[in-house]
């Protein structure tokens, strides 16, 4: 057992071997509505399967190597290549099958592909996190893992896969949905920050009112999102009929307005809580010393308390933003649009590819938002500690 230097990687490799032999790599269906027949990895383009073999062997070898920086780098590169190889192989095989099939034939990723891709990605993530790089370098490395896939995507190598066919037929809808999704999240975060930061600061200064305000925010947080969206329909509809001008501004019982209001309500708790938590953890002796030195209340707030509170505050905003990206999917149910619209359309018509077309960009968006705030938070917090 001493020979094994990296147990996480060992588990990933074993699972990958099981998935490679046990699950379908691709599925082929005569059209988008029926379920397809499985193509295992062993039947995929015989000579080219070697592109998976080399990085796989590197990963297997790394399990038994001393865990140094070089090993982590090799694992990260091999896992990235493996991920690239999986996607490329799927794309290439789909293109070969498409030559002899009817245009409505759907060639989709199978369970084996998803599991293998996930395992390769996890191996890369694990190696990057172990590498002890700086926070910015780590964020960049996480992006670099997906860079080769982006190249394949833009180069048209994957166009014969059903997911891309789905995208091709719905490109306009997709682009609108993506922009709308980002708009909803941004439209919710701005008022959340404008209201949440002053609320947090005043709660910090008047600690007695903290309990009651947080109780209210907690209750909002526990209301299921669907219910909250629903609850907002009636009052907004009434409001829109009572005040004629509102409807022209786009405010009504359904659509973007209730979605944004609900997201603001959900985002308030993490933002307010992290504002308070950030300020509370500023050491009292530091504030007392600064006061004793002769800094004014405003100077202490700006030059001492805010910089110390910033990393904690930003982590709260990060949680609010990632949460909003996810919740905005549900907002499609009340007609707000966004990527959720694709998901629910796909669910309603039983088209898995359409669901994925909504889900994958949502996940990617959440990951990007998360990484961006992590970098921001760590770059503000490096000097304390």
């Amino acid at each position: 057992m001493n020979a094994v230097r990296n147990r996480v990687l060992l588990v990933l490799v074993i699972l990958a071997i099981v998935a490679a032999w046990g699950l379908a790599f691709l599925t082929v269906a005569p059209n988008r509505l029926v379920s397809g027949t499985a193509i295992p990895l062993s039947q995929v383009s015989e000579p080219w399967r070697a592109v998976l073999l080399v990085p796989s062997l590197v990963l297997l070898l790394a399990v038994f190597l001393p865990q140094r920086r070089n090993t982590h780098a090799a694992v990260a590169v091999a896992a990235t290549l493996l991920l690239f190889g999986l996607v490329w192989l799927a794309g290439a095989h789909a293109a070969r099958l498409a030559e002899s099939a009817s245009p409505i034939t759907r060639i989709a990723f199978g369970g084996g592909f998803w599991v293998l891709a996930l395992l390769a990605w996890l191996a890369a993530v694990d190696a990057i996190e172990r590498s002890r790089l700086g926070p910015v370098a780590i964020a960049l490395a996480h992006f670099a893992v997906f860079l080769p896939i982006a190249v394949l995507l833009l180069g048209g190598e994957l166009d014969h896969l059903s997911l891309l066919k789905e995208y091709a037929t719905r490109r306009d809808v997709f682009d609108v949905a993506l922009v709308r999704h980002v708009e909803i999240v941004a439209a919710a975060l701005v008022p959340t920050l404008v209201a949440g930061i002053p609320l947090g600061i005043s709660l910090f200064r008047h600690a007695k009112s903290q309990a009651s305000v947080f109780a209210v925010l907690n209750v909002i947080q526990t209301v299921p999102s669907i219910a909250l969206f629903g609850l907002l329909i009636a009052p907004l509809a009434l409001l829109a009929t009572a005040i004629p001008g509102l409807r022209d501004l786009g405010i009504s019982g359904i659509g973007v307005a209730p979605a944004v209001i609900a997201l603001v309500l959900y985002s308030l708790l993490p933002v307010v809580r992290s504002t308070v938590a950030g300020l509370v953890q500023v050491p009292r002796p530091v504030v007392e010393a600064a006061t004793g030195m002769g800094l004014s209340r405003a100077q202490i707030f700006r030059r001492v308390e805010v910089p110390i509170a910033l990393p904690v505050f930003l982590s709260g905003v990060r949680i609010a933003a990632v949460q909003a990206v996810g919740l905005a999917v549900v907002a499609a149910l009340i007609g707000a649009g966004g990527l959720g619209a694709l998901v629910f359309q796909g669910l309603a018509s039983g088209a898995l590819d359409l669901v994925l077309l909504g889900v994958i960009p949502t996940v990617a968006l959440a990951v990007v938002v998360d990484a961006a705030f992590r970098v921001l938070a760590s770059s503000t917090g490096t000097q304390t500690g």
Partner: protein, 310 residues
């Protein structure tokens, strides 16, 4: 410099400082000492208005402190506390420079002041200027804390148990440092501690506080030789008052010049207490004495140390 006139302070009806009158002259090193809860820290914080007094008057350079804006008052007083309170995301230089900058000193003068203070406190400027507080040891942080308190060339230094959390060796070094700075600069210092040895070592004048009232106010010698109440002798340690008295004098007064004794010489700047302790440890009744350069000066006899003096 500072005068308390019948000053009182209560927190929610609990009296912390009760009718204290005290006048501190320029250049004095006044140590306020007392058990915890005696009001000593409150007394100090009332001077720079971190705590507002509710009765009596406090004068700073002849003016009631309430006549000043609190920030303006604090800029003229150095302030150092036990937990140091260095601003964690500021470098050593930024911490020290803050008050001079607030006072509007030109940039080059601020820079020179930082260099001067780091040298004064035995921190190589080139090495420590750009460090952050968490990169320093506890003793070094406290040195920066003292440097910061001195930075604006304040009229008075307020120190609230500044060395309370340091290990004995570091505390000893910093006590020496602050005594040297007091001697060299002639700054008025108001210093709060609960450590009687620290008080005896540093103070030109000790104010003993109990339950918010001044129990005794005098030189270290007066406090030891003529305790005003049972509380005082108990607080200073009844059992070794004599030894503490010996600790106040150096060998130089009792040395028999020209005489000699066997063994390693003790320095002439050693206290009588140290001399007695060394003699007992060596089992001898005479010790040779040398000056600061190590040249033999004479000898000191145990009999002279223990002989009753007026």
């Amino acid at each position: 410099m500072i005068a308390f006139e019948h000053v009182g302070k209560a927190y929610d009806g609990r009296v912390a400082v009760d009718d204290v009158s005290l006048s501190i002259a320029e250049g004095e090193f006044v140590v306020v000492i007392g058990p915890s809860g005696s009001g000593k820290s409150t007394m100090l914080k009332m001077v720079n208005r971190l705590v507002e007094h509710d009765r009596g008057r406090i004068l700073f350079a002849g003016d009631e402190i309430r006549r000043f804006k609190p920030e303006a008052l604090r800029l003229r007083m150095g302030y150092a506390i036990q937990s140091i309170g260095l601003i964690p995301h500021w470098t050593v230089e930024q911490n020290i420079a803050a008050v001079p900058e607030l006072l509007g000193w030109p940039r080059s003068r601020v820079r020179d002041r930082v260099t001067e203070l780091l040298e004064l406190l035995d921190l190589a400027p080139a090495t420590y200027r750009r460090r952050y507080p968490h990169q320093l040891s506890g003793g070094q942080q406290q040195r920066v804390g003292v440097a910061r308190a001195l930075a604006g060339d304040p009229a008075i230094l307020l120190m609230d148990e500044p060395f309370g959390s340091l290990d004995p060796v570091t505390r000893d070094a910093l006590q020496q440092e602050i005594a040297r700075i007091h001697k060299a600069s002639g700054k008025t210092i108001l210093f709060v501690t609960h450590d009687i040895d620290e008080a005896l070592r540093l103070a030109t004048r000790i104010v003993l506080l109990d339950q918010g009232r001044v129990v005794q106010d005098g030189t270290p010698r007066e406090i030891l030789a003529y305790p005003a109440a049972d509380f005082v002798s108990e607080f200073v340690g009844r059992g070794d008052i004599g030894l503490k008295l010996l600790g106040l004098d150096t060998v130089s007064g009792l040395v028999r010049r020209g005489e000699s004794a066997a063994g390693d010489a003790i320095p002439i700047s050693a206290s009588l207490r140290e001399a007695l302790s060394i003699a007992i440890a060596r089992g001898v009744d005479r010790l040779p004495v040398a000056d600061d350069q190590g040249r033999a000066v004479g000898a000191i006899a145990v009999a002279d140390i223990t002989k009753p003096r007026a």
